[in-house]
């Protein structure tokens, strides 16, 4: 366990914004704090690096109460990325990324190597971008630099507050994929705030669904969709879309059966989700598809009836 909230309470005036908040975050997970605006998800996130103080209760980071740390030391051990990015406009991309390593006193050679490594990780050519200024980058590139800056000193945990909220759908999807890859390759613990359900479903290992400063339900994306705790969860996740959301979390692989008689006319990759398969069938006006491997080997077929009726083949 890397972070633990214990009976946290935070009030603004007489109004309790956060009450009886308990949450444990495991090392290496990508926990999404999901909820409508005003649900306290950002406040929860900012309490971890003490950008917001908590009134009651305790927050433990690596087993120690956050208030027992020197605040600057604590923050340098946590990456932080926000929607408005907040890059330093007077510093180059490389200088921006180097901020925390420089604060930690890394030598310049190590800093430069790290900057190049991170730019490459985020699919930005160092020779092309390292010496540019933030205003010379697109919104998506700025946020890539923002994420690189958050990762710079190899922090124990990454705090992300709606980092992709201001980007267009295509750029957002690209950055979501980049973040997934980074999380898989580095095993970083990530806390991710969003109000976007699709984003939460895509990225989360676990979701904490918040409402009015409390956790309404905590679980994996599939758990939330299959066993919503109450009406709020059902309504928030989208009553009408609930079925489709579930389908998008499931692979077609278990539904592949041997072909009998004439094979279906069209093919789909066996790694596709059930949602993609059904969408494909609807577009092509067919009720079955051939499932193939990446190299084109035929594995069998999937049938619409199986996908929709059976939970487990």
């Amino acid at each position: 366990m890397i972070i633990k909230f214990q009976n946290i309470r935070k009030s603004y005036g007489a109004q309790a914004a956060i009450a009886d908040f308990n949450l444990e975050i495991q090392k290496g997970e990508l926990l999404v704090l999901l909820g409508p605006s005003g649900s306290g998800k950002s406040t929860i996130l900012k309490m971890i690096n003490r950008m917001v103080s908590h009134d009651e209760g305790q927050i433990f980071f690596q087993g120690q109460e956050v208030n027992s740390f020197n605040v600057q030391d604590l923050r340098r051990r946590m990456g932080y990325a926000i929607q408005s990015v907040g890059l330093f406009p007077h510093r180059t991309v490389a200088q921006n990324i180097a901020t925390v390593p420089k604060l930690l006193g890394w030598d310049s050679q190590r800093v430069q190597a790290r900057v190049n490594e991170l730019l490459t990780l985020l699919a930005m050519d160092p020779t092309q971008y390292a010496n540019r200024y933030p205003h010379q980058l697109s919104g998506g590139q700025q946020q890539r630099v923002g994420v690189a800056r958050a990762l710079a000193a190899d922090p124990d945990v990454l705090l992300m507050d709606e980092p992709f909220g201001a980007l267009d759908p295509v750029t957002r999807a690209a950055l979501q994929v980049a973040l997934q890859q980074i999380q898989q390759s580095t095993g970083k613990t990530i806390l991710f705030v969003t109000h976007d359900i699709d984003e939460a479903m895509l990225l989360a290992t676990r979701i904490a669904l918040l409402n009015q400063g409390r956790i309404v339900q905590l679980g994996t994306p599939l758990e939330l969709l299959q066993h919503p705790a109450n009406d709020f969860v059902v309504n928030f996740l989208g009553r009408a879309d609930l079925g489709l959301q579930q389908l998008s979390l499931r692979s077609i692989a278990p539904y592949v059966i041997p072909i009998e008689g004439t094979p279906p006319t069209h093919v789909i990759a066996h790694s596709a989700t059930v949602r993609e398969a059904i969408s494909c069938m609807a577009t092509l006006h067919v009720s079955a598809l051939c499932a193939v491997k990446e190299d084109g080997t035929l594995l069998g077929q999937v049938r619409a009836a199986d996908l929709l009726e059976n939970n487990h083949v």
Binding site: R76, Y80, I82, V85, G86, F88, P89, H90, L103, R149
Partner: protein, 263 residues
């Protein structure tokens, strides 16, 4: 807007301004050191005057005294204003910010002559009241510009600086001050240029500046003196303004500090 697009349009203007700076500096020096030799010219221009050229003190001496007075008073003003504005970023100084903003705003409507007039009864005639008045009046533009510059730093930039573990001092020196620098420089420019003009009026309280030929000319109905003094003050102000322009451009080129991008 992209600054890359703005640059080509700026290039010819920059050349014109450089030429302007060289010309005004050249004319200033020519007038300061060449005035005694211009007797025939001004005699032709002002045939009714017995003494058409100001020769009581060398114009160059007055110019250097004028520049000295402005340099000292503006330096004092800039130091006071900068320290005061920076103090408003600290926790304890924050309480004084509204008062200082009001003072800075009010000061802009206060005519410099009035400041000068108030200083004389307090300390008597001479260089000192001029120095005091110019220092006080020079504070206000710098104070206002520096506070505006510090306020122009986007909250998201300050937030991320804090969240990355910068100390308040590091945030001030590495983020707020560099970003406020262009506006600060604009404030210093206003302060210095206004002080060059106001220092001329300081001759009325006994300071020896380029205002002296103007005052003597006005009281003795010698329009040639007025013209010579006014030309010197005007050229000095223009040269200083254009020099600050060069400085601002150099700063922009090296630091490339534009806050406009954080939309």
């Amino acid at each position: 807007m992209s600054e890359l697009l703005a640059y080509p349009a700026q290039a010819p203007r920059r050349g014109a301004k450089r030429l302007g700076l060289s010309l005004s500096l050249g004319a200033l020096l020519l007038l300061a050191y060449g005035l005694p030799y211009s007797q025939p010219l001004f005699a032709a221009l002002f045939p009714d005057l017995a003494r058409p050229v100001y020769l009581q003190e060398p114009m160059s001496v007055l110019m250097w005294q004028h520049i000295g007075l402005v340099l000292v008073s503006s330096s004092i003003a800039v130091i006071i204003a900068t320290v005061a504005a920076l103090a408003t970023t600290s926790k304890t100084g924050l309480a004084f910010k509204p008062a200082m903003e009001m003072l800075a705003g009010m000061g802009q409507t206060f005519p410099p002559v009035a400041v000068l007039a108030v200083a004389v009864p307090a300390v008597g005639f001479g260089e000192l009241p001029a120095l005091i008045a110019l220092s006080i009046f020079g504070v206000l533009p710098v104070l206002q510009a520096t506070m505006a510059g510090l306020a122009s730093v986007p909250p998201s930039v300050l937030d991320s600086a804090r969240a990355m573990g910068m100390t308040p001092r590091q945030i001030l020196t590495e983020v707020q001050m560099p970003l406020a620098l262009p506006l600060w420089l604009a404030g210093v420019r206003t302060s210095v240029v206004v002080n060059i003009g106001t220092a001329a009026i300081a001759s009325t309280v006994g300071a020896k500046t380029l205002g002296l030929p103007i005052i003597i000319g006005l009281s003795g109905f010698n329009t040639a003196y007025v013209l010579q003094g006014a030309m010197m003050v005007g050229l000095l102000a223009i040269a200083a303004d254009l020099a600050f322009d060069e400085l601002a451009l150099a700063l922009h080129g090296s630091a490339n500090s534009g806050v406009d991008n954080q939309a």
